[in-house]
């Protein structure tokens, strides 16, 4: 076994990197893969909470790097899904406690035992991003359909390309199909036109994300929600399966007003 190492990144903060990492990692584990998600956001850790494993964290990956503990002691095994592990970040340290070489060594140590290693990247283009990206071969770039997020994604894609990461694939998160339909949100194709990278999935805006975070349970483990569905599809595509994009409109819950609006728009042409 030699794991595929994938960094989840975005440039802009709060667009859904951690949510995406947790859900894709859990989905792949559900499909029978052995997966570890590393929280590379040193000092601002979140992945433990989103995965619902915060009470079981004892050590972190900096302890492993500094040889305070063994790798096996730092890895938190998820008891709900076989094959899913978390390697937590240190909460009381800063990003310069590690360097890219150490991150590469950390991933190398994990590679023989896993199918997938995910690195949940901090926001920004500085040290934290460079550390996380150093260990990875592939990248998932997360953006929302808004100018600032897409702009930062463009910047990050340029940096990932110059670091030789491949493939670099895009996740469009928090899309609202009804806003797109009304012309009030950037559409999938508008974003792909300017970024010109491969799309691996579109995740709709979905309240279940918040519920899942409250419950500490990645959606892909249990819930049947549009976002869970989208993340399961992304996991399948990572495995090379040809899964068509979801029909987000059918999830949009079209209201009466948007229906008459559509009717009139149709007439006007």
């Amino acid at each position: 076994m030699s794991a595929r190492v994938i960094v989840t990144t975005s440039g802009k903060g709060g667009v859904g990197k951690t949510t995406s990492t947790a859900n894709i990692a859990a989905a792949l584990a559900k499909f029978g893969k052995k997966v570890v998600a590393i929280d590379a956001d040193v000092g601002l850790r979140n992945l433990d909470v989103i995965m619902g494993l915060e009470n079981r964290v004892v050590y972190n990956f900096i302890d492993v790097i500094e040889k305070t503990c063994k790798m096996s002691a730092a890895l938190v095994k998820d008891k709900r899904v076989p094959g899913l592990y978390l390697l937590p970040a240190a909460q009381t340290r800063t990003k310069d406690a590690v360097n890219p070489e150490q991150m590469i060594a950390l991933c190398e140590e994990l590679k023989p035992d896993f199918d997938f290693i995910f690195l949940d990247c901090p926001a920004g283009i500085e040290g934290g991003f460079k550390n996380a990206a150093a260990g990875a071969d592939e990248a998932l770039v997360v953006t929302t359909p808004e100018i600032p997020a897409v702009r930062d994604a463009d910047r990050i894609i340029g940096m990932l390309e110059s670091m030789g990461k491949s493939p670099i694939r895009l996740i469009i998160n928090r899309l609202r199909p009804n806003m797109v339909q009304d012309g009030d949100m950037l559409a999938k194709d508008d974003i792909l036109d300017v970024l010109s990278i491969e799309l691996i999935g579109v995740v709709p805006e979905d309240e279940s994300v918040i519920r899942a975070t409250n419950n500490g349970e990645p959606m892909t483990m249990t819930l049947d929600s549009p976002a869970a569905h989208a993340y399961l599809n992304i996991a399948e595509r990572l495995l090379g399966h040809d899964v068509p994009l979801m029909d987000l409109e059918s999830y949009a819950g079209r209201g009466f007003f948007s229906k008459i609006k559509k009717f009139f728009r149709g007439k006007k042409k």
């Binding site: 702009r151 463009d154 910047r155 340029g158 806003m179 009304d182």
Partner: protein, 91 residues
């Protein structure tokens, strides 16, 4: 009235369309934010090609990117001292 305008779209650009146009231009600008180092390399290579055809005043060359709201242009001001006679025969 505003309500109706909003409901039926008054033929104006939608905010999504506006976002698309603004995004395109922002990215053109971001991507042409090239480093002085890169611009210097570019200048050296341009000079390298030009001197095959003409004598130029290397000290007075100006090469820069010009940006306005809609587009970006590479603007070069290169004083030519003399065109080489055999440059016409060169392919």
């Amino acid at each position: 009235m505003d309500f109706l305008k909003k409901l039926f779209g008054s033929g104006n650009e939608t905010s999504g369309q506006k976002a698309k146009d603004r995004l395109r231009i922002v990215l053109i600008h971001d991507r042409t934010d090239i480093s002085p180092q890169l611009l210097n390399n570019l200048r050296e290579e341009i000079v390298h090609v030009l001197v095959k055809y003409m004598d130029i005043d290397e000290k007075k060359i100006e090469i820069d990117l010009d940006r306005d709201e809609k587009a970006v242009a590479l603007v070069a001001n290169i004083p030519v001292l003399r065109i080489k006679r055999n440059s016409i025969e060169m392919k």
